[in-house]
């Protein structure tokens, strides 16, 4: 089996337009959640989100590109440019043929769907722009990364709701580990902060109107975010031979299905995925120093997740740290696992654990070290990233310092 390392990372999200900006915000425990600036916000009951504010597409793309790229694709391409730029890779010949792209998204081009439904249903127009389909399709972002960087190997998009990017990165990991690819560009993107996107979540009545406070006894729901994070996964010997800077090693991945309920999480399903990732990584449970939690800020998730961690780790659950950065960037749905992997890599490389902000009251059902409100310096060598999706589809990644 091949070893898999990360040699590039990029992002745009509510905390920043680059990885350094995002990590600085996470270190400072800054909140990227605020009033939504979207059309018809006055018709929404939920009016906050982790929105990428002040974003100017024209600063990044020309008119033809903007006509073809939904906002989720734009975020993907900006993050991919940063990640691939950092890796120093360019793709030609055999390397291009052996390198691909696997991305996660839940909603795909939802801004495009929303705008065009509005145009035909509300405005009564009978003609839409010719690029609606290629803009809204879930694999649009993946295909544009392929085209922009000449990536010609295995490439596709994964949609498993809130676990999409973890499933995508798990596939990328497997592909390199099994020898099917040398380099995989992977991660995820979401841009659901439009009227229809927020309205749909509102209907489920699990959204907070004021803040995302994971694990805090007074939490009252989740807050949506938007953005993308993209990584370059590379076969270890290939990275070493070219003297690439290695950010971390991906050492394990596990996925499970609850087979139980379409929205309620299951402790057993989550626990099996966490344990499976540790076993796949061939490390012991006591090696795990930090977990980036799914930590949505809903009662159902937070209690179940803490119980699963306690079950899997036993007494060691009390000595590891577990934080939810969704408190800062919001729940980026299909892109969230990718943005959260940035916090995992920061923990390994910089020895800084991103905090769970907005934490106000201890909850006896979430009695773990959730790194409340302030980032912490800590020496950790193995970390996990949890993602537990609606539909009971769970995906957990394990990373190691290198």
């Amino acid at each position: 089996m091949k070893r898999v390392v990360i040699t590039g990372q990029g992002t745009v999200n509510a905390l920043g337009g680059t990885v350094p900006e995002t990590l600085e915000a996470m270190r400072e425990g800054r909140c990227g959640i605020g009033p939504l600036d979207i059309r018809d916000v006055d018709r929404l009951a939920i009016r906050i989100g982790g929105q990428v504010l002040g974003y100017d597409p024209e600063a990044h793309f020309n008119r033809q590109q903007i006509a073809l790229y939904d906002r989720f694709t734009q975020f993907t391409l900006i993050a991919a440019a940063e990640a691939i730029g950092q890796s120093g890779l360019s793709f030609a010949g055999d390397l291009a043929a052996q390198s691909g792209v696997v991305l996660g998204t839940a909603g795909g081009g939802m801004q495009t769907s929303d705008e065009n439904y509005r145009s035909v249903y509300e405005d009564g127009k009978n003609r839409v722009h010719p690029f609606v389909v290629p803009k809204l399709m879930n694999n649009a972002a993946c295909s544009h990364v392929c085209m922009n960087y000449n990536l010609k190997g295995p490439s596709f998009t994964v949609a498993t709701a809130c676990a999409s990017s973890n499933h995508a990165m798990g596939q990328a990991f497997h592909m390199i580990r099994g020898g099917a690819a040398t380099v995989m560009v992977t991660g995820g993107s979401e841009s659901m902060l439009c009227f229809g996107g927020v309205k749909a979540w509102e209907g489920l009545r699990v959204m907070s109107r004021d803040a995302c406070r994971p694990f805090s006894a007074n939490r009252n729901g989740m807050v949506q975010g938007e953005g993308a994070a993209i990584f370059v996964f590379e076969e270890y010997e290939h990275a070493r031979a070219r003297g690439a800077e290695i950010l971390a090693e991906v050492i394990g991945f596990a996925m499970t299905s609850d087979a139980a309920d379409i929205v309620m999480p299951s402790k057993q399903g989550a626990a099996r995925a966490i344990k499976g990732a540790v076993q796949d990584a061939r490390v012991s449970l006591s090696d795990v120093g930090y977990i980036n939690a799914h930590g949505t800020g809903t009662a159902a998730n937070d209690k179940t997740e803490c119980a699963a961690v306690a079950d899997v780790f036993g007494p060691h659950a009390d000595s590891l740290m577990i934080s939810s950065t969704k408190s800062m960037h919001g729940h980026v749905i299909g892109g969230t696992g990718a943005i959260e992997l940035l916090a995992c890599i920061m923990a390994l490389r910089d020895g800084v654990i991103a905090p769970t902000i907005g934490y106000e009251e201890p909850d006896p059902e979430c009695a773990l070290d959730v790194v409340p409100n302030t980032a912490r310096e800590a020496d950790v060598s193995v970390v996990l990233s949890n993602a537990f999706a609606f539909g009971g589809l769970n995906a957990v990644l394990a990373l190691r310092r290198i």
């Binding site: 209907g203 489920l204 009545r205 699990v206 009252n220 729901g221 309620m264 809903t298 009662a299």
Partner: protein, 86 residues
């Protein structure tokens, strides 16, 4: 139909039971209505009466809307309907 009968009909439909079985003393648990069923019932109540029900699925016990029994739900809806016409 009065508020009580209309709410009972909505709950009975969700529980897939006869209206006669949905007595005021029953809890949602008794009726086999889970969290999704509850959210769907509240949506149906909002549509039926054109009201806004203050309910957050994260902490139902902290919501202003009492769901502890069929009688409690009926009383809460009656209150909201009265507020609306006031």
């Amino acid at each position: 139909m009065n508020v009580k009968d209309r709410v009972t009909r909505i709950i009975a439909e969700q529980a897939v039971m006869d209206v006669a079985e949905v007595t005021p003393d029953k809890t949602l648990d008794d009726l086999g209505i889970d969290s999704l069923g509850l959210v769907e019932s509240i949506f149906a109540i909002e549509e039926e009466f054109d009201i806004q029900v203050p309910f957050n699925a994260n902490n139902p016990e902290d919501s202003d809307f009492d769901i502890s029994s069929v009688a409690a739900i009926i009383a809460a809806v009656e209150g909201l309907v009265a507020q609306q016409s006031a």
